[in-house]
């Protein structure tokens, strides 16, 4: 067996031994050839290096780069349609006279008794200046707004979603004598959708657009003036009352002149639409509210003056869930109740006018005078709350119909050398124009929801850079003084004099 194996190995050994001398020669030959070709290549490379890349090579490279550029560009073009913006407002607010005025608890049920400080507010403070102060908190740090807006903007179409992302939401503004409740401040979830709309612009004039979804109601100026731009921390009391949350769900037609239209066509603009009337809530009846504004914009570029303004209207309905309707009798100076049909449709009608004047003062900077007036011909509310219902259906309490009006006037003066602005604002809201202070007596059955409020606000804005600004602002709030009859009334006695409900706000805003 071993012999056979040896015999089989012989030819293998022979083959291997026969191959070895030949391979050495080949290797040597190959080495020489490699050296030669390397030297040829080196010479060619040196020559090519000396001559530089050929035009064809460069063209090919350039074409490659161009292709890559065009590919990148198309991706970037798509991405550039997505626009992300937002702002964050952090603030410190304080009640100006907390110890002596707001914190004294005189309720009989409180064991501490009169003269002591329980931490409970006697009346609502700060509800129109960034949210009501909760019992026990005389001052607070607060995230007022944290907005994130994502827009996709193609040439003629736009889709926008805006969120407010907060650890909690600020309570709804109410004017109530009895609502010292703490719950109003910390209600709701932390993330709310503020805007969600789409917008189509016609391709010819590029000036007429249809907008649908949830967005600012086209009424007046202050509603659509962004909170990130506004010089006062909050909107006027009348807007917070009649248009809580500013937004509504609906569809509207807009005319905003494009730059290529003739000059005469640039002088006016128009927005009007049909809205649910529920704020951002779902439709729950067959009524639509018609809201619109016709605006004028008159620029006098040569003298750096601009006069803008507009007229607005709101015609809507609110369905009553209660068959009792109270209408105000101006002669008797009290509400007269009557029984009507449940689910009766009640009017909600406002008229408004606004004006903004801009003028550039030499050296110091631009000044803006702004004013706005609203008359609510019919405003459905309840006995102790004159605010608009959050739904197109009023709550189950009897509906109180009031005629109200309000206005604000403000001056904003830029101080360009120090990147600042000075602000002064006077804001008045009379929720029941048919009655005045002294007539509000025990016999009339009226309450704080019928009181007129005036607010003087003043402050300063400092723009740190293009993103950051600081606002220091004081709200001096003055209420209508009621008849002395109320001295013994538990809820209204405080209104026999001006409430001490002034608020100071210091805000930092980051906008991106």
């Amino acid at each position: 067996m071993r012999t056979i194996a040896l015999l089989l190995m012989i030819p293998f050994v022979f083959m291997l031994s026969a191959q070895e001398p030949g391979s050495a020669v080949d290797e040597q030959y190959q080495d020489n050839a490699a050296i030669q070709s390397e030297s040829v290549r080196t010479e060619e490379a040196k020559k090519a290096e000396a001559e530089g890349p050929s035009v064809e090579e460069l063209k090919a490279k350039l074409n490659g780069l161009e292709e890559s550029y065009l590919e990148t560009k198309s991706t970037v073009d798509k991405l550039s349609k997505i626009k992300i913006s937002g702002y964050i407002q952090a603030q410190f607010r304080t009640v100006v006279d907390p110890d002596t005025i707001a914190m004294k608890d005189t309720s009989a049920s409180n064991a501490i008794g009169e003269g002591a400080f329980s931490g409970k507010y006697k009346y609502a403070v700060g509800d129109f200046a960034g949210g009501k102060f909760a019992d026990g908190s005389r001052n607070l740090f607060q995230m007022r707004r944290a907005r994130l807006k994502v827009a996709y903007e193609a040439k003629l179409t736009q889709g926008v979603v805006q969120f407010d992302i907060l650890p909690f939401t600020v309570g709804n503004a109410v004017t109530s004598a009895s609502s010292g409740s703490t719950s109003a401040f910390f209600n709701g979830s932390g993330v709310t959708v503020k805007d969600a709309y789409l917008r189509f612009t016609e391709p010819w004039l590029k000036s007429i657009a249809v907008k649908a979804g949830v967005y600012d109601r086209p009424f007046g100026f202050e509603i659509s003036y962004s909170s990130s731009m506004r010089e006062s921390p909050e909107r006027s009391r009348i807007f917070q009352t009649l248009f809580p949350g500013e937004r509504d769900m609906g569809v509207s037609l807009e005319y905003i002149p494009a730059d290529n239209l003739p000059a005469w066509a640039q002088y006016f603009n128009f927005k009007a639409g049909a809205f649910v009337g529920n704020g951002i809530n779902m439709e729950n009846d067959n009524n639509r509210d018609i809201i619109g504004r016709f605006g004028l914009a008159l620029p006098f570029n040569d003298i750096n003056l601009a006069i803008d303004g507009g007229f607005s209207g709101y015609v809507g309905k609110v369905t009553a869930l209660n068959d009792t309707i109270a209408e105000f009798d101006a002669d008797a100076k009290k509400f007269v109740k009557q029984t009507r049909y449940k689910y009766d449709d009640l009017d909600r009608k406002y008229l408004g006018g606004d004006v903004q004047i801009y003028y550039d003062l030499p050296v110091i900077g631009g000044i803006c005078l702004r004013g706005e007036f609203i008359k609510a011909v019919a405003q459905p509310g309840v006995s102790d709350n004159n605010g608009s219902p959050k739904s197109n259906i009023a709550n189950s309490k009897p509906t109180y119909m009031r005629e109200c009006n309000g206005f604000y006037g403000m001056v904003v003066q830029n101080i360009n050398p120090i990147n600042s602005q000075l602000v002064f604002k006077y804001d008045v809201f009379d929720p029941n124009i048919d009655i005045e202070g002294d007539d509000i007596a025990l016999a009339t059955g009226l309450n704080a929801a019928d009181l007129k409020y005036s607010t003087i606000g003043f402050g300063a804005v400092y723009h740190w850079d293009e993103n950051v600004k600081f606002i220091a602002y004081y709200d001096r709030v003055m209420n209508e003084i009621v008849n002395d009859d109320f001295v013994h009334s538990s809820s209204m006695k405080y209104y026999t004099e001006d409430l001490q409900d002034d608020v100071f706000t210091f805000r930092i805003q980051y906008k991106f």
Binding site: K73, K155, Y225, A258, D259, Y359, V363, I367, C368, N414
Partner: protein, 280 residues
Amino acid sequence: MKKSLRGSYIIGICAVLLIGFIVYAKKTAITVKGSDTMVILAQRWAEKYMGKYPETTVQVTGGGSGVGISALINGTTDVCNASRPMKGSERDKLKQRYNSLGVEIKVAKDGLAVYVNEGNPVEQLSLDQLYAIYTGALTNWSEVGGPDAKIIVYGRENSSGTYVYFRDFVLKGKDYSPLMQSLPGTAAVVNAVAKDPMGIGYGGAAYGKGIKFVKVQKDTQSQGYTPTAEAVKAGNYPITRYLYLYTRSRPTGDLKQYIDWILSDEGQSVVVDVGYFPVR
């Protein structure tokens, strides 16, 4: 003793701050941002002005008219160069932030040139033909008297004032052809057309070196003109525009002095040197 020492410290710190402020205030810096068309012009102005007034620094950057106007609104530049008028929406933003419409100063005139490659036999084009070429309705040179070859269209990016002006004036607000290759800066357009025998581009007349200007006709019946000083001044060249400076508010102090100098004979001579046309 302690009190007086503290008082001395306070006075000392105040003095240092005051001196620092005076030194800082003395050395004025003016920032200028915007139109790429105007960037060479603005740089020449800055160089000449700083040579004359060394205590003032003028910093010039480009980026396009749109970028410059945004910077003016954001407060990151003192002056914006723009090769187009400010849009209504841009003025609204200035109004909101500064209560001002902005101040517009016309500083030069420019004939917006149309370039083709030197080897291209086409000599003139009407506004209607340019409209058709740039909207993509006309794609072959043979349709305008040139060779049977595809027209390669070059233009500017949408942040450019030249882009906006050409679109609004020549294309009457219509969109550019999707086949147009957008390039960053007039120099890039000139460069591309110089290399591409079938290319066509537009841009400031000051950039038109090494390529051929096409004569532009108001219509096919009228005489064609290139953007020469005479044609622009006489109003014969159809695509003529102003070049602007914008400030947020009425200029004062050093800024006013700088702008006054730009409008002076000396400043306007720079306009001519660079290849544009003076406003006075």
